[in-house]
Symmetry: C2
Subunit: 128 residues, 2 copies
């Protein structure tokens, strides 16, 4: 994929997440996807997203910066949400939060094959 | 700058940091640079790096992934180091640590103008 195609695919992936369209996730995420070094596979990825939405019913992914340099996409994601209970081991309990994630995705055969994500958990702790 | 020039400039910046060549930092960092939303300027940036090296005498920046999409560079940085005392409010006290930083740099006029960094502080806490 060239840079524009990669960008377009990534935006499609984010739209898929925001639509909670888990069945369509296989168009964007590879069968043997790795997340922060662990092979979790497509089913593990789907389960992770379902768990995220259970913890954060109003979860919405907003792209602040999108950088495409095939085969890698880097994205700054913003979250403005209301987790219902615990989040990352922190007792959020319905408080409204803003936080960010800086994340790199390596694509293979048109799908996300490797994810390296850091979420700013310290910013969350500081808001509690 | 095109993608290759941006990549080369960024590698020059990292070499400058690893050489502790603070006088040459103005070749890479703009006078009014912002760091995570705050204008700290070149002098503030230099002071931040000096403080980092005081806290981590063996600090070395290693690029794991470098993504260039003008005017933005995104980088995954790896650290393998031995902070002497406190680090990010955590009592490291000479323990050897591995941690990562996912960081975006927006360039203007050939220099870094805006930095958005997330360091994996939770990974550091987990190693203590």
């Amino acid at each position: 994929m060239d840079r524009d195609a990669l960008r377009k695919t990534y935006r499609g992936y984010i739209d898929c997440l925001n639509a909670r369209d888990w069945q369509r996730l296989d168009r964007f995420v590879g069968a043997a996807v790795r997340y922060n070094g662990a092979v979790i596979g497509l089913e593990g990825y789907r389960a992770m997203l379902r768990a995220d939405v259970a913890a954060i019913p109003d979860l919405r992914f907003e792209i602040a910066t999108l950088v495409a340099d095939p085969p890698v996409v880097a994205s700054r994601l913003l979250f403005d949400c209301t987790p219902v209970g615990m989040l990352f081991g922190l007792p959020v309990n319905g408080r409204h939060l803003h936080f960010e994630e800086n994340v790199f995705y390596t694509f293979a055969d048109g799908r996300i094959d490797d994810v390296r994500s850091i979420i700013d958990k310290a910013a969350i702790a500081a808001q509690l």
